[in-house]
Amino acid sequence: MSKAINGKQRIVYFTIFVVLFALIILPVVTVFGEAVIVDGRFDFSNALQTIGDSENITTITNSLLLGFLVVIVSTVISTPLAFLLARTKFARWKWLDIVLMIPFMTPPYIASMGWILFMQKRGLFQQLFPWTGSFSENFFSLGGLVLAMTFNVFPFMTTMLKNAILNIGVNLEESAAVSGAGFFCRLRKVMLPLLTGNYAIAMLLVFVKVLSEYGTPSTLGNRIGFYVFTTDIHRYASTAPIDFGKASSLSSVLVLICMTMWLFQSYITSKHTYSLVGGKGKKESLYSCSRAAEIIGGVYIALIILVSVGVPYFSVLATSLIKLRGYGLAAGNFTFQHYVELFTKNSKGWEALLTSTTLAVVSATVASVLGTLIVVTIKKAGKWKKIIEGEGLLPEMLPNIVLVIGLMLFWNKIYDILPLYNTIGFMVLVYVVMFLPYTIQYVSSAYMQMGDSLVEAGTICGGSRFYVMRHVTLPLIMRGVMQGWMMIFIIVFRELVAASLISPPNVQTVSTFIVKEFEQGSASVAMAMALICVVITATLLIILNYAVGRKKY
């Protein structure tokens, strides 16, 4: 139904545009404004001064160095893994895909705490392997930080590379083999050239992720005195003397870097257009490997899982069950007391769980409703659709911490008009803005799959627009909406950056509770909470998968 856009529709589109503009664009603009406007005048000297400050130069170089190293190590780890999972018999073990997503789904601050508890002096590692002496303490260095972050993000890269390899039909390789190319020659002449673009994209995205990441740098990085963008921005915005000017200047630089990377990424994506999606090339196709190669591959996969999943989770679990940490992993030194303590010692643990649950439910619901309405409304909006989608998806490209800073500044400024700042309501607003892209993406893709003719068939059969919406469109996109809702719930439930910056006084969420207990030395209580948090989110994910899988269509 390509009707010309009429006046009424235009008003609706414009309204959505304005609302999103106020919610998303203005706060970002405020960040830049705060950085370069001093006493009502443009003044770049302050911003330049902040950036040129030797301490901040260190921060910037630290961030870039960290990003660079994590990208390299992730690539090294992911490459063999992606090949193993795409082209050997391990491809048939679907559960590996799920296990490998665990590190990615684990909140980074919890994983880092696990690592710290494992590697620190008199930590679990030294208890398990006393003969290694103080070897494990070497972890508290740049190298350790790189490893901790790598083990968190590498599944992202592995998945991207694996899918890219699967997309290269084996017929391309077979034809090379028939032409007389050996395995390594094929790798060099066929696979790698076809994968270059995917590598570049994956590396850029990992780089952006690392620069935007706050959890690991704030737990492990701060401990070893390695400061990066996010931790410095956080410090300027939350610790006296608070200096939003400096926070904004650093944020602006961070945004500029990330945006450049995104642009670069989309440029490569558009350039990298080998048409590989021929229907027939995609039969399952495995290399025939020697027994030895298979064993080596298996050991490699096991090792990766052991380190990336096993270590942090073992550490979290063990710590949460240890009675007295001085005695370590000894029979009789285990207890559920910390779990009990969590809920009985004072009401803080309960309250944190309750707050996080409420926040997650409300934010996920608001974002889902809003996002779905937007997607459904702008379906036929032509160029408006592009603009509004661009606005709505922008938060995904921005580091969360920058978005939070922007919203803080903006809502602070309009506090007299709308006194939302410093309330739970403001937290909901921040989360809705932050995670709106999830709903938009899930719902859009459900919508795309649906096709126009189902809706057209509904109107032809005599359904009014509203009737068709309720009985055809909504049921069919419901799965996308639910997936978006669940993802938002899970992420908000244990989100750290926003929670630590904008929680109203005396309000704790699960994440700030964990961090606080951890920092105050009650690691066991913190880990008990962490485990509960992980169990809740994992349960939800399983329920979601089950519910989605059960549908007949």
């Binding site: 096709g451 003719s453 005599g462 009014s464 009737y467 009985h471 549908k551």
Partner: protein, 318 residues
């Protein structure tokens, strides 16, 4: 119901797809729109249904104007009371067969005897036993039947078919042809059928409208269109045509290799033979022109023959 389209124009963005189309679809007749891909058949159907708005012109259902760009009339699809059978079936995957068919009645709040009417429609397409299945549990042909049941259950005045058979295999297609023809005949609805398959058009239609680039090339009964094509385009597009120069042609049946009185004679060389079962198909070279015809006898390639063509059956274009 008679459908009339007057001076219809349609363009997408800048590209003009239909220009000044005048079309009459007779009451209770089975009319086929036939034309090459991209000539605008789907667009015409969708404009009748109200899924697409013409850039200019008027559409009437009997005497009722349902669209007029001048008078600013535009009856939305849900008020036009038509049935539409989609090429890709467009069944709702989340509803059972029964609910798919019942949708139109429920949407119109016309639920008296719902069960009975839906089951009647399903019985008409022989799917009574499948009422509780979901579309994904049906074969292509069964899905198509559900689509058809859905279109007839509301007793529309007119049913539009957009290449409904193109997703089916040859045998199913034959079966469905007969069934669609029978059911629309029994219901006495105006049927508009879109296809680019000339066999389908000829075997089903009361009337064929041949379209080319958004314009009507010719309209008439299938026999007329086949035997008296009005333009070289129609002659080439429908059936096999053998050309005598640029402006005269004959159909293969008009030619014979037996000496016949009152016929024109042309010398030709056999360049190929195919066995068709009943007959042989011969490929001939007549002084540089490529012809084809059928013959009960086999000829060797390279044989010189005389072709006798019934003068009355030669069609000439000016």
């Amino acid at each position: 119901m008679k459908i009339t389209m007057k001076h219809i124009f349609k363009s997408y963005d800048k590209a003009e797809v239909i220009r000044d189309l005048n079309l009459e679809l007779e009451d209770q007749a089975f009319t086929t729109l036939l034309g090459p891909s991209g000539c605008g058949k789907t667009t015409i159907l969708r404009m009748i249904a109200g899924l697409e708005n013409p850039t200019g012109g008027e559409i009437f259902f009997d005497d009722v104007c349902v669209f007029s760009s001048e008078k600013k009339i535009n009856v939305p699809p849900e008020k036009r009371n038509i049935g539409f059978v989609f090429q890709d079936f467009a069944l709702w995957p989340h509803l059972s067969v029964f609910e798919n068919v019942a949708f139109g009645l429920r949407a119109r709040k016309d639920t008296a005897d719902l069960e009975k009417r839906v089951m009647e429609a399903l019985a008409a397409v022989q799917l009574s036993d499948f009422r509780n299945r979901y579309p994904s549990q049906l074969s292509g042909g069964q899905q198509q039947r559900v689509g058809f049941a859905r279109a007839i259950v509301t007793k529309p005045d007119c049913i539009l078919f957009d290449e409904p058979l193109s997703a089916l295999d040859a045998i199913l297609r034959d079966e469905m042809r007969v069934e669609i023809k029978r059911l629309t005949g029994e219901m006495g609805v105006t049927a508009v059928f879109v296809t680019h398959d000339q066999m389908e058009a000829m075997s089903m239609s009361d009337r064929i409208i041949v379209l080319n680039q958004g314009l009507i090339e010719q309209e008439g009964a299938p026999e007329d269109i086949y035997q008296k094509p009005a333009t070289p385009f129609t002659a080439k597009f429908i059936g096999k045509s053998n050309w005598l120069g640029n402006q005269a042609m004959f159909r293969p049946e008009a030619a014979s290799l037996k000496k016949t009185e009152g016929c024109r004679t042309y010398p030709a060389v056999v360049t190929g033979v195919q066995f068709l079962g009943e007959n042989y198909q011969l490929f001939l070279d007549a002084d540089g022109k490529q012809w084809t015809m059928e013959s009960p006898e086999k000829y060797q390639t390279g044989t010189n023959v005389s072709v006798y063509i019934n003068e009355d059956k030669i069609v000439t274009f000016q």
